[in-house]
């Protein structure tokens, strides 16, 4: 298991280096999207329309932050459970998305698409939302403001602590970790 510092956008070479269990401090720009925003993005793709955010080489964080208190760039901002985005994720991966951040295991369909498209899935610590917010230095709503917490935000991050949960070769920290400690 290795430690990396990486900056977005991610290349295929970056993604191929990462193995399940590796720790990554991620910096740069990422975009937020969860249930409702994913539905809208995939509906746009179905209609052959342009997406409101760049996807190629980018990383999407599954989060709906709490409201921004005065004097802070963002409210608490931990990951939401990823399986709810599984029905939509492969479509975005086909568009060149290189990374996803959430929590919990992904479906076989997403794993197949991650292999096909060379994509990494990172886990952030669920419920550590006040701590994670410290890694976010700026936030701006860039689409779907009407969705409130579910709007798409562009985040500037500095050393966001992540673990490679599932890599592009099928490595899976959940399966491997749990097998090790099962009695």
């Amino acid at each position: 298991m290795a430690d990396y510092s990486m900056t977005t956008p991610l290349s295929d070479e970056d993604v191929k280096k990462l193995k399940a269990g590796d720790k990554v401090l991620l910096s740069g720009t990422i975009y937020t999207a969860r249930d409702a925003a994913h539905k809208r993005l995939v509906d746009l793709l179905d209609e052959g329309k342009e997406l409101p955010i760049p996807v190629d080489g980018q990383v999407i964080y599954y989060v709906g932050p709490s409201p921004t208190p005065p004097g802070k760039p963002i409210g608490s901002a931990g990951p939401t459970t990823s399986y709810r985005m599984d029905p939509y994720a492969p479509r975005l991966l086909d568009e060149g998305l290189k990374g996803m951040i959430g929590k919990g295991m992904r479906s076989d369909e997403v794993v197949a698409s991650m292999k096909k498209n060379t994509v990494v899935y990172f886990a952030a610590t669920g419920g550590a939302a006040a701590l994670i917010a410290r890694s976010i230095t700026a936030a701006e709503v860039v689409a779907y403001e009407d969705l409130g917490a579910e709007a798409i935000r562009k985040l500037t991050i500095k050393d966001f602590p992540l673990i490679v949960a599932q890599d592009c070769g099928g490595g899976n920290v959940y399966k491997e970790g749990q097998e090790q400690y099962r009695r």
Binding site: K72, G75, S76, G127, A129, G177, Y181, R182
Partner: protein
Amino acid sequence: MREVEAARITEEVARLCMEANFELEDDVQNALEKAYEAEESPAGKEVLRQILENSEIARSEKIPMCQDTGLAVVFVEIGQDVHITGGDFETAINEGVKNGYTDGYLRKSALADPIRGGNTGDNTPAVIHLNMVPGDKLKLWVVPKGGGSENMSCIAMMKPADGVEGIKKFVVENINAAGGNPCPPIIVGIGIGGTFERCAQLAKKSLLREIGSVHPDPFYADLEKELFGLVNDLGIGPMGLGGRTTALAVHIEVAPRHIASFPVSMNINCHAARHKYIEL
């Protein structure tokens, strides 16, 4: 007859909504600290370290420990000699939720219509469980409940023949399938008996119990202990990364059942197990 002003209820509910989201109660905090000391898995230990650091940041900065500040679940025990004055009871609670979630910069996660959506804008309505009891006290438990752990909860209308073994299988299989999704280490609330809806309520109510408390009936205390062992033997660990700490507690609540029915429910709470209590 003892009078309690509706405005007082609103004020307390607002305060409890905020405090619950900013500060872990001692029982949860202590259980997490103990788990951190005992955890053997390096990845699991790192997760627990982050959870404890997060708890300190949330407490000192008065910001929500988790962005999912939940739907506001409120358990109420109202003495039959209490008279609410100056407004109606349900509105008083919902006003408190509205004020707490607005003033505390808590996330509004309530959709007005389950299919057509539309955020209610203030996280109302609260989910209120009301019990009338003898006396002149008003007791309130504010329990903000996040979606991640709620989604991994389940109920089964089992056959009476399934017995205790059936309960163990139900609990272990469903927690194993949930894996890291409900944000372990979790608190497992189990309801046994009653009707369909009573059974689900028992599981939710068991989450109000303090970690470390045991069922007063030794038979169920033993079953809690056995299930606690079985769940932690799954090796799911903190956030599902593998480890010894999958559950901080297993709580069981029971009720009489129909001769033909054997309902069993499980309500899971995440490590951000938020609950605040006040007696008015």
